[in-house]
Amino acid sequence: MLPAHLRNLAKTGREVVVSVPEADITQRRVLDALEAAFPVLGGTIRDRQTGKRRAFVRFYACEQDLSNESPDAPLPPVVAAALASGAEPFLVVGAMAGG
């Protein structure tokens, strides 16, 4: 699920579907698949130079804040299962930071 600015940029709806094998779900793979589907999002969620999450972007799923987890760590099994089944979305969120 994308925030409004990125939906506008990608010219898509609030929710987009990407394909990642359930056994290998990591944040990096989810985001790689997202950027492959929508190249215009390159650099908007992760810094182009460092590959790190941009400071005011957050990643949530199943009411858990995954933002500070390693991008290469497998997601917790319950989260991975919920994402794979489509029961829960992986949320890309613009942090609450004024503006």
Partner: protein, 398 residues
């Protein structure tokens, strides 16, 4: 459209004038003026005919995003580039091929070339690795719509030759021997001025100073001799000056005019030497400086109270004009608020059109964009309530 350039009298008043197409009768083509305003919350396109009295306003384009700069290609005015940024989602470059009606994002990979970028000085005087943050200024080539130069914070110069699809750093600027001593101004380590006289290029950086390349951006030399800045340990240091904006008249490429943090300066030898022309200005702090398109000795500045009071003296917004190349200035106030006005005018927020009676435009942090259709004698707002205006560029269309 025909352009005429001529030295018309003994006062060295150059003329670069459009020969106007037939006008006024129904159905005949009219010259159009298009003002591109970048703001804190989007871009706006303001359009009028050559009378510059009635305006249409379209936007916001990219609502909610900071638009540091938009600029059209001199070679194809309907090709416009925009720098789009937020603290949340980073930097994008947008391109329009139809005069701002529709836009498409192009490349946004501004990776510094050559691996380890090295360091510059941080605010506390410690070394800090160069890090890309945003594009402050876009300068399209005069001859090729696909070629654009981009000034990046931290101070670097990028170039595209494919309409923005890909960007390559011209590393000679960032790797100048004085680079490790450059320190950001309050707004960041930003290259905000790019003057193309290809193969010559001038760049100004806050707070490094002004640099010149005579080989298309491959190599650079610092050109700050004559600048004095009390805010740095050595006031006449080779580098470290907070230059706010530089302009040149197209007919006099070696003559440069500079609004520095404090001081209005001039060079007549391509930046080799600078001298002060602040003269009778009420304050010589400010951000933009403009040069009249037909009169190479006519200048415009907007005096701002001080570096800690970023608003006009006494709450009176005034553009000051010199018709003598500096030192002798006159206030232009007709139509501008002369009380209770506490806005600022940023460095890229002034532009001047090339019609016979030149139009002067500037935008404020209060969201007004003002126009003078008579070289500054009188002013009227085009719009009053935009978000804070970061940049103003004007185009004259046949």
């Amino acid at each position: 459209m025909q352009l005429i350039m001529a030295n018309t009298d003994s006062k060295d008043q150059w003329q670069l004038r459009r020969r106007n197409p037939t006008k006024g009768k129904k159905g005949e083509r009219m010259t159009q003026v298009r003002v591109l305003a970048g703001t804190r919350k989007g871009a706006f396109v303001l359009a009028s005919d050559e009378k510059r009295e009635k305006w249409s306003v379209t936007g916001p384009h990219f609502g909610g995003w900071e638009i540091y700069h938009l600029k059209g290609s001199p070679a194809d005015p309907n090709r416009i580039y925009a720098s789009q940024n937020t603290g949340w989602f980073g930097q994008l470059i947008q391109r329009s091929d139809d005069g701002g009606l529709t836009w498409e994002p192009v490349g946004n990979d501004f990776t510094y070339a050559g691996g380890d970028p090295g360091t510059h000085l941080w605010y506390d005087g410690t070394p800090r690795p160069w890090e890309f943050k945003r594009i402050w200024h876009l300068e399209p080539s005069k001859t090729d719509p696909d070629t654009v130069y981009a000034g990046a914070e931290d101070a670097a110069l990028f170039k595209t030759a494919d309409g923005g699809a890909s960007w390559t750093e011209l590393t000679g600027l960032r790797k100048h021997p004085t680079g490790p001593s450059w320190q950001p101004g309050a707004g960041g380590l930003c290259p905000h001025t790019i003057i193309l006289q290809e193969p010559r290029i001038y760049v100004a950086i806050s707070a490094a100073g002004t640099l010149r390349s005579d080989d298309g951006g491959e190599t650079w030399r610092v050109i700050n001799r004559g600048l004095l800045s009390d805010g740095i340990p050595d006031p006449d240091a080779e580098a470290g000056h907070c230059v706010h904006h530089v302009e040149a008249h197209p007919a006099r490429p070696d003559t440069l005019f500079m609004q520095k943090h404090w001081d209005v300066m001039r060079s007549d030898d391509a930046g080799e030497n600078w001298y002060e022309i602040s003269g009778n200005l009420p304050t010589d702090f400010g951000f933009p400086i403009g040069v009249h398109p037909h009169e190479a000795e006519t200048l415009y500045v907007v005096p701002i109270t001080s570096d800690s009071l970023h608003y006009p003296p006494d709450g009176a917004l005034q553009v000051w004009r010199s018709r003598a190349g500096g030192n002798e200035w006159e206030p232009l106030t007709k139509g501008l608020p002369q009380r209770d006005c506490y806005v600022n005018v940023y460095r890229d927020a002034m532009s001047i059109d090339t019609l016979d009676e030149a139009g002067i435009y500037f935008g404020t942090t209060g969201g007004q964009v003002y126009c003078s259709a008579d070289s500054g004698d009188s002013w009227a707002p085009i719009v009053r309530d935009l978000p804070a205006v970061l940049s103003v560029e004007v185009q004259v269309l046949p």
